[in-house]
């Protein structure tokens, strides 16, 4: 088995490609709910206020592009994609039924930062702590359930025969628009 540090570096591209694919899904209005098994009426993923891209220029030189703001947009990002870039981190908004989560995810580590989960009741008595904690855990786990399911779907596609003939051409077409 590969050394952990070596495998982190060698396969971090999978996380970046996953985020790029997520961005493609969001921008092309693909129904993400159908890709998850989560029981809900509506499930929508949107881009938030920040996106980072990286473009390898060869000889270990890397061009980094960071786009911030509420309209984090997307023209500059698409230009970077056209030049061969990938998304390295992205701020996302997950809306499930009436609930909303906001978070940033980094491709190489899959770490989640700035996670804001739907608000819950304020703790007023000591005996309310356990209930509040368990509710929080449920809300945190929901984000990971969505991310893990989408990551699995991406990897299944990425190793499938259809990747080269269906998915990759579609992503290239979107990136070059």
């Amino acid at each position: 088995m590969l050394d952990i540090a070596v495998s982190y570096d060698k396969y971090k591209f999978l996380g970046n490609e996953f985020l790029t694919w997520l961005w493609y899904l969001i921008e092309t209005d693909v129904n993400i709910k159908d890709m998850t098994q989560i029981e809900c009426n509506t499930l929508v993923l949107e881009t938030g206020n920040c996106i980072g891209l990286e473009n390898s220029l060869g000889d270990d030189a890397v061009e980094k592009i960071s786009i911030r703001g509420d309209d984090a947009g997307l023209e500059e990002g698409r230009t970077a994609l056209k030049k061969g870039g990938v998304v390295t981190d992205i701020n996302l908004v997950l809306r499930m039924d009436e609930n909303e989560w906001r978070f940033s995810i980094k491709g190489e580590s899959m770490n989640i930062t700035s996670l804001k989960v739907p608000s819950t009741e304020k703790i007023e008595e000591k005996d309310e702590i356990e209930g509040a904690v368990l509710e929080r855990i449920y809300l945190i786990n929901t984000v990971f359930e969505v991310i893990d399911t989408l990551f699995k779907t991406f990897i299944k596609k990425r190793i499938s025969d259809e990747w080269k003939t269906v998915d990759l051409p579609a992503i290239r077409t979107w990136a070059s628009l």
Partner: protein, 208 residues
């Protein structure tokens, strides 16, 4: 850093191996034996230990619970001393001036200055109280998974080592490769295909 705070950062781990039976007792023993000390070691630059989720500064696992539903929740506390460089510089200058006056000299050698600097730093480190940092830990033993509510590299590294030492269990950080390698949901042939993937290029016609 708290799992109840309004903005969270999360790093995830898979627990490699099984905890010794009886599970509750093993976890309790690991926490109690490695709880943060209540008496500050004036010579220690850094002190690490477990403390209950509901009690950052009274590390008493008999008084405070670590079980919530089927989860184990507690905190890693890192107490660290650090003296701002400007304070060290100020006291070094004072000590050098004092020494010059006492000896009636105009200069000190490089070694003398280094000795003064070391002595000043050691004295200040003893005097200054350590700054505590609290990181919540969420351990789901049923799914062999652990979350640390921090993505700081140093905190994660300290946590991996300290968790392993406390519970005799290895933690594997979850990132793209390990999410596949350490998951039961993948067949060997699928893992092999993943291992053989190379970076794709959206602008060119490179094989995926």
């Amino acid at each position: 850093m708290s799992l109840l705070s309004s903005s969270l950062s999360v790093a995830r781990y898979k627990v490699a191996g099984k905890i010794e039976d009886p599970v509750m007792e093993t976890v309790a023993e690991g926490l109690k034996k490695n709880a943060i000390t209540t008496i500050e070691d004036e010579y220690a630059e850094i002190t690490i230990g477990w403390t209950p989720f509901e009690s950052d500064f009274e590390p008493d696992f008999d008084k405070f619970t670590f079980t919530y539903g089927h989860y184990f929740i507690f905190s890693m506390r890192i107490d660290k001393k650090s003296v701002p460089s400007k304070i060290i510089k100020k006291y070094v200058a004072i000590e050098i001036a004092k020494k010059l006056k006492e000896d009636g000299r105009e200069f000190l050698s490089k070694n003398e200055k280094t000795d003064i600097r070391d002595a000043v730093t050691e004295k200040l480190m003893r005097q200054i109280p350590s700054t505590p940092n609290i990181y919540n830990v969420l351990w789901d033993n049923e799914n062999s998974s652990v979350m640390l509510f921090s993505t700081q590299k140093a905190a994660n590294e300290e946590f991996e080592t300290f968790f392993s030492r406390s519970f005799k269990l290895k933690l594997v950080k979850l990132f793209p490769f390990t999410m596949i390698e350490y998951s039961d949901e993948w067949k060997d042939e699928e893992r092999d295909k993943v291992m053989n993937l190379t970076t794709l290029n959206l602008k060119g016609k490179i094989d995926a």
